[in-house]
């Protein structure tokens, strides 16, 4: 029994979880508006976009990589879904209309293609992930501008609006989407061989290669998944706003990386978990929500957020120093 408790507290997710609870308790005392059902659902709904991206980011970072292109892929996928369902596609005089599901599929495909492109750059052309995805960040943003002409695409279907603002069994739709993704990938990382290989590659790429893991294939898969998950996030943002903004998602890569790092995942790969990332994203979400609830000056908000990120990482480092 004692051993069980000790092994629970030794889990890396426990420290960020404790920080999350501490923040939630503090906020409950600071603002009587915080712990209301409405506000909790607000936080969850606002966090769901970052959660989708962060799950993909966690896998990428676990392999020792990074993906800076998620925000731009989000924007392009959202614009593709909105543009195709609204205006269809005209190729060589042939007009193709898109239904809601057609638009969703096209967006996910866009994410997959751009993500796979990242993966190919990293595996085939040996471009460092930071540079490869930095390139894609600019490319995808440019493609978004080209496709939208710099204007938002507005006026989407009811199905889209339901995805963004609807409720199902008393829970907002974006929260359902994020929950399904989290559960699926948490299981995937823990219980499938591919999931374990992702950890192995980040731990020691050469050893993984020598033990017969098809490293290139897994890395390609991970970047593709990150692209698809950014596309899901793009669909959520587009659906919530009832419009696709050409500058959507700018800076989201940093929120995602922050969530992953606060959640205890090592930036050098091999160590961390989806659960930790979920906690990290919730910490950022509660912080964003709490600072506005308390009407903290916008100038101070940035300072405070920066210190919270640093603080979380320092605590994690010091309490698990034997791992570094």
């Amino acid at each position: 029994m004692n051993g069980k408790i000790r092994s629970f507290f030794a889990k890396p997710v426990v420290k960020p979880l404790a920080a999350l609870l501490l923040m939630a308790v503090a906020m409950t005392f600071l603002s009587d508006k915080f712990a209301t059902a409405d506000n909790i659902f607000n936080v969850l709904r606002q966090v769901s976009v970052n959660l989708c991206i962060s799950v993909g980011m966690t896998m990428v970072i676990l392999t020792g990589g990074i993906d800076l292109s998620v925000g731009s892929i989000l924007a392009l996928s959202g614009a593709v879904a909105a543009g195709l369902t609204r205006n269809g596609l005209a190729v060589g005089g042939v007009f193709v209309g898109f239904t809601f599901w057609g638009g969703i599929l096209a967006a996910l495909l866009t994410g997959a293609i751009l993500g796979a492109f990242n993966g190919l750059m990293v595996t085939r052309f040996k471009v460092p992930p930071f540079v490869a995805t930095l390139g894609m960040m600019t490319i995808a943003r440019g493609l978004t501008m080209l496709y939208t002409g710099g204007f938002p695409i507005t006026g989407l279907s009811n199905a889209f609006r339901f995805l963004g603002t609807g409720w199902f069994l008393g829970v907002p739709m974006p929260v359902w989407v994020a929950a399904v993704i989290i559960l699926f990938f948490a299981f995937y990382m823990k219980k499938t061989p591919t999931g374990r290989y992702i950890y192995a590659i980040g731990g020691n790429q050469r050893a993984s290669l020598l033990s017969g893991i098809r490293v290139d294939r897994i890395i390609l898969l991970v970047y593709t998944l990150a692209g698809v998950l950014s596309a899901v996030a793009g669909l959520l943002v587009t659906a919530r706003l009832d419009s696709a903004q050409p500058n959507a998602g700018a800076g989201y890569e940093l929120d995602a990386i922050a969530a992953v790092v606060i959640g205890g995942t090592s930036l050098s790969g091999g160590r961390g978990s989806i659960a930790g990332t979920v906690v990290g994203a919730l910490i950022i979400g509660i912080l964003n929500n709490g600072l506005v609830l308390l009407d903290v000056s916008p100038f101070w908000q940035q300072v405070i957020k920066g210190f919270v990120i640093l603080g979380a990482v320092i605590i994690d480092k010091f309490s698990s120093k034997n791992q570094y």
Partner: protein, 314 residues
């Protein structure tokens, strides 16, 4: 073999790139249009109309995007000054930070014409054609008091806290509204001119302050985000939303009653004036006014039918 294929692919890319070039115009020389950002439809309209009007006047026009970054802007100026442009239609990223760039151009004999945003040094441009943000927000503030009343709670959503237009708008608005003791601002938060951020900030502010009757937003994208949050919270009609810019979707929203009012800035008018002034200057007319303020007009449900397409319809 490998070298050859690399060479061929580079050649292919270069050939493909020529297809991406912006189409030129007449033969009176080249004019550069430098825009602070093309991430926002309003600035896209400003930049593209400036280029369009310059082409109509017989120039070749090339559009540069400074991506809200003064150092990117400086690079554009370096390139422009070394490649024989006749004039620069300029939308500065920053009132102070852009001064050096504009002065460098003027010193090299390339005239600069500012659009929308000001440069804080009078000699750094031939003419500055400016949108009067401050006065526009005074008008908006007066309409705010008229529609919301003298006893109400409201919140404000600022744009970028490091941007001078953000504060010009906020100060114009408050110069009116703060005269009324019954009008209480319960919260003031920023959303970086971003629709999604504004929606999230609005959701949270409504949680913190259940009893608000109005929200003033520093631009239309944020007003649309706030109105989306109000809609989702089932509070439509109970919280009045005020925007600024006159973008198409916001004018449409004023028509539908989702926004209480916005203020129309006239990007096309400013772009046309800048292009015409550049043409006059280049034809030898050097005695041009230093500053031309372009009024910002209030758009409310009564007069909304006169507005659209980034200007007046009539």
């Amino acid at each position: 073999m490998k070298l050859k294929s690399v060479f061929i692919s580079v050649l292919c890319v270069l050939t493909a790139l020529t297809g991406c070039r912006q189409d030129g115009g007449g033969s009176k020389g080249r004019v550069a249009v430098v825009i602070s950002t093309l991430n926002n439809p309003w600035f896209v309209v400003l930049g593209e109309s400036a280029a369009q009007y310059a082409r109509e006047l017989g120039y070749e026009a090339v559009l540069f995007d400074s991506q809200n970054n003064p150092s990117k802007e400086a690079e554009h100026f370096d390139n422009i000054l070394s490649s024989g442009y006749k004039a620069i239609l300029f939308n500065p990223t920053d009132a102070d930070g852009s001064t050096v760039n504009a002065k460098a151009a003027m010193a090299k004999g390339v005239p600069v014409f500012c659009m929308d945003r000001e440069i804080n040094e009078p000699g750094a441009a031939v003419t500055q054609i400016l949108s009067d943000n401050y006065s526009g927000c005074i008008a908006l503030g007066e309409y705010f008091v008229e529609t919301v009343g003298r006893e109400a709670n409201y919140v404000e959503i600022l744009g970028l806290v490091g941007d001078n237009n953000t504060w010009a708008r906020s100060r114009g608005f408050h110069s009116v509204v703060d005269c009324f003791e019954g009008l209480h601002m319960l919260a003031q938060q920023n959303a970086d001119f971003d629709q999604n951020k504004a929606m999230e900030v609005m959701e949270t502010m409504m949680q913190a302050n259940p009893d608000i009757q109005a929200v003033f937003c520093g631009n239309d994208a944020m007003a649309m985000g706030a109105s989306q949050a109000i809609l989702a919270a089932g509070k439509s009609g109970r919280i009045k939303v005020f925007g600024f810019d006159g973008s198409d979707d916001a004018v449409g929203a004023v028509r539908d009653g989702r926004l209480a009012a916005t203020a129309m800035q006239f990007p096309k008018t400013m772009a046309r004036t800048a292009a015409q002034f550049a043409d006059r200057y280049l034809s030898g007319e050097h005695d041009l006014p230093r500053k031309i303020p372009v009024a910002v007009e209030l758009v409310n449900p009564e007069n909304v039918s006169h507005f659209g397409n980034f200007g007046r319809r009539d």
